[in-house]
Symmetry: C2
Subunit: 530 residues, 2 copies
């Protein structure tokens, strides 16, 4: 944090890039070169946040008069602009995050981001996301409607796909008809600024209210809590650290403001003996690739592996250690991530885990050596909370159980997680174990996988990127997948005996698009009300 | 509260009526005769709650092995038993609440309750409530599954339809596959006990796990907070006072436990000038009937009427006052409701409202004279929070605005409410006012009505009995209406590449009932996966 009087970047308020009134600033950092980047980003004070909230409230009103077609048009123009600026965006993001320019940033994450915006456009156009429901006999009709301005706090690990001004929460909030107040992640403000410039261009081309997208870079913790509790705000989407998330949750909860959080997850992976025996070497490859990809900085990184003690398990550990040691450690997103990772490793060691390899910061680099820890299930069960410390980065803990019932006991101690995986043999030899373990795992996770690592999160209508607390704040919502993710930013409104011409188009007798799915008298249909 | 050593009623734990270990007891009260009723009900200590939680967790496990048909069967047998015991139930409820035996208790509320249980049975049988969603290309499938044991705190005002062991939250929680821990409302423990006896009989006839339904009568506030935060519990449904609800919310929020609250609502009704001119006398009748029905003890009682100043408005007030004065005040549910009502009236008077009639407790009876207050919008706007004090019972406040923009300003100051009504002329003369006011009102309520009082809450698939905070805790859920109300008690679970025979029946290729609605590749269908 600096207080230099030099020119700082501007904030985006009510459709204009304006000089911030901040008195404090921060700079971002290139983790690849360990250099501080030159741009100064303002830490906005309350007066600025207040102006943003006013503009958002106004935009929310005006957005109601914007057709679904206009909202969809904005999302598509914006997606096209992102694609057209892929290289420039990739370079800024690479400088701020050290994530590989290709394929990761330009060829994978960026197309995912624009693709998500296009899916959101389709959802906005169809209106089916709003679950329009009609009881023709009683003339009662309901659907989800925009919840009001949504503040999005994006995480550090996806500069595009979860960016507060372009990612999944953004796309869902806008497609549901709400303006977005984006709070940049401190580790990639330049990427966020560039995206916001493209968003503003798309707003102007599509004719949406100018305050539909606003951007501030940072604020004090106190102002953050004040923001999420403000009466002008409809809801909050937050992805990031558990500690900061819980502080915001507490402020939002106190005033009954919906806040959707994605906080932390160790993503348990159970490798059953039959699978290890059948294809142990392949599982080592799959696991190592999944843990080290993106230097392990995924919400769904497999941070906890559960094995039954056996020779095959020992071989799995030895082969994994070998590959961890042979692989070049990737660069982490920031020195802060580096510090958290080594500190989490220390916590796990203090709890009784053993270090197989890695665990140390690498001098002069924003790296930690690839880290593998092991522990017995017996130790784990003595202090399950400590053993579930998330080591965010290129690290994983393998827990060895004596038998199935001990492994089941470990599962019973798990906190809520985003994902849980079970690998089993194809010949049926693991089926009994599966039957014992899968129900225990399923109830503690948002997504159960078979024979597949958790790191891929497809943007699918059936995806659940969510899970029980503390993975998220509510087990009924997904942050990824369209149209379901839009429901987080909808308010259910019922129209009881409201005259036909006063109903929202979605609820009038005539199907507004001819293709919108509506729940009429307990059947789903694309027809008009008969 | 008494500490008499005499035999007290038993609590229902793990399928058995057992002697409570309580050291404190309470008795209920007949508000019609002002007499304390003889039965002693225990105030359970933590050890008892702990046993209930253990049994509920076990029942939740066993319920997973129960077919939807068994759950539906239980709900239907229970509904039949309730119908068969209508007279006996009505008499107990009448003694505890003074609500009229007929038509209210036996002919209206009881059939609503058994009907709701039968609708819930149909929802459980079909499975469509769980929004099964299938992405065939990616082989990702998701649906809502049971969230875990649900604790239901029922309100005082509906001894059957919202009873913790028979009402809407109960039906929704069970139909979604969860056991229920019922916490009786202190004002009708005997009714709740009788219902729980029938529920236990239905459990035994239908073969569900014995801990599917449990009942305790009361506990300390500290134990209540501990209960809702317990890790064995899946979710909470609460209907009651704002103060107690917010205490429970705070305990549940701190551990990320979903809690669905229905807290308070003044249910604004706007009567536009054209409507008053066109059918003023009829509106007086409609309004008076709605306010005084059930002695005004409905969540959706019209407690706030908004009028534009005019001669017709003055006539409306005068005619309403006349009818209020002529009508016999109904009996309130308890001396506590009586005390809250007179105290709320004092709060409104202190804020600057004027008393048109009523406002006083009636000596020797559990009644308050029918109460009408008026205030100018100018006064209202000086202290909108005080003027929105809920006067639960046979009372309403009429606010007079100088013009449409002042009326709009009042709407802009409203807290979240369950309902909002607008009456307008049939000849179009109110249409301009409607266009200005309806969007403002709609965003602050869960249900917008035209030309209709809010007190009827149809059990319709399109109903929203919900609304923005502080009417409820989350604006996206409804407490009435099936199947939507079940979603509150579901946990979203995604199955990613899970083998076909390991999938829940709802997500296997074959449609489990041939009639279940599933969202397959973005289309809703009753077909099998092709």
């Amino acid at each position: 944090m600096t207080t230099a009087a030099q020119a700082s970047e501007r904030v985006l308020i009510a459709g204009k890039w304006v000089e911030s009134q901040a008195s404090d600033y921060f700079q971002s950092y290139n983790p690849g070169t360990c250099e501080t980047l030159p741009e100064q980003y303002p830490i906005s004070g309350w007066a600025e946040i207040d102006a943003v909230l006013d503009a958002a409230a106004l935009a929310a009103e005006h957005l109601k008069a914007s057709s679904p077609e206009m909202i969809a048009g904005f999302l598509e123009v914006y997606a096209d602009l992102i694609d057209a600026n892929a290289q420039a965006l990739g370079e800024i993001a690479h400088a701020e995050t050290a994530l590989p320019l290709t394929p990761r940033l330009v060829a994978v994450e960026l197309p995912r981001t624009s693709g998500q915006l296009r899916q959101a456009a389709a959802a906005a156009r169809s209106g089916s996301w709003a679950l329009p429901t009609i009881d023709t006999k009683a003339n009662i009709r309901s659907c989800y409607e925009p919840i009001g301005p949504v503040c999005v706090f994006g995480p550090n690990n996806f500069p595009f796909a979860f960016n507060s001004v372009a990612g999944g929460d953004f796309a869902a909030a806008i497609a549901a008809g709400n303006p977005v107040i984006a709070k940049a992640n401190t580790s990639h403000p330049g990427t966020t600024k560039k995206l916001a410039e493209l968003a503003l261009q798309a707003i102007s081309e599509s004719g949406l209210p100018s305050g539909t997208v606003q951007l501030v870079y940072r604020m004090s913790h106190a102002d953050g809590s004040r923001l999420v509790a403000d009466h002008r705000l409809g809801a909050v989407g937050y992805t990031g650290s558990r500690r900061a998330g819980l502080t915001l949750k507490s402020a939002a909860d106190a005033v009954g403001k919906p806040i959707y959080l994605e906080l932390s997850s160790v993503n348990p992976v159970v490798l059953l003996p039959g699978a290890l025996q059948e294809r142990g070497a392949a599982l080592v490859d799959e696991f190592v690739t999944s843990v080290l990809m993106g230097t392990g900085q995924f919400c769904t990184n497999p941070g906890l592996v559960l094995l039954l003690k056996s020779e095959a398990a020992d071989q799995f550990i030895a082969a994994t250690r070998e590959k961890f040691e042979a692989a070049q450690p990737g660069t982490l997103l920031s020195t802060s991530v580096q510090g958290s990772l080594t500190s989490a490793v220390q916590t796990l060691l203090a709890a009784g885990a053993e270090l197989e390899c890695g665990g140390a910061a690498i001098a002069g680099k924003c790296c930690v050596s690839n880290t593998l820890l092991t522990a017995t299930a017996e130790k784990f069960l003595q202090d399950p909370a400590e053993f579930q410390t998330e080591a965010f980065g290129n690290a994983s803990l393998i827990v060895l159980a004596d038998d199935t019932s001990q492994l089941a006991a470990v599962l019973d101690q798990l906190e809520g997680n985003l994902t849980g995986c079970i690998y089993s043999a194809t010949n049926g030899s693991d089926d009994e174990n599966y039957a014992t373990l899968a129900p225990r795992l399923a109830r503690r996770v948002g997504r159960l996988l078979n024979d597949k690592m958790p790191t891929g999160v497809a943007v699918s209508p059936a995806m659940n990127h969510g899970g029980p607390f503390p993975a998220t704040g509510h087990p009924g919502f997904t942050a990824v997948g369209i149209p379901a993710s839009l429901l987080r930013f909808g308010k259910l409104t019922c129209y009881d005996s409201v005259r036909q011409d006063r109903l929202p188009l979605l609820l009038q007798d005539k199907n507004p698009t001819g293709k919108t799915w509506r729940h009429i008298d307990l059947s789903w249909t694309q027809s008009d009300v008969q």
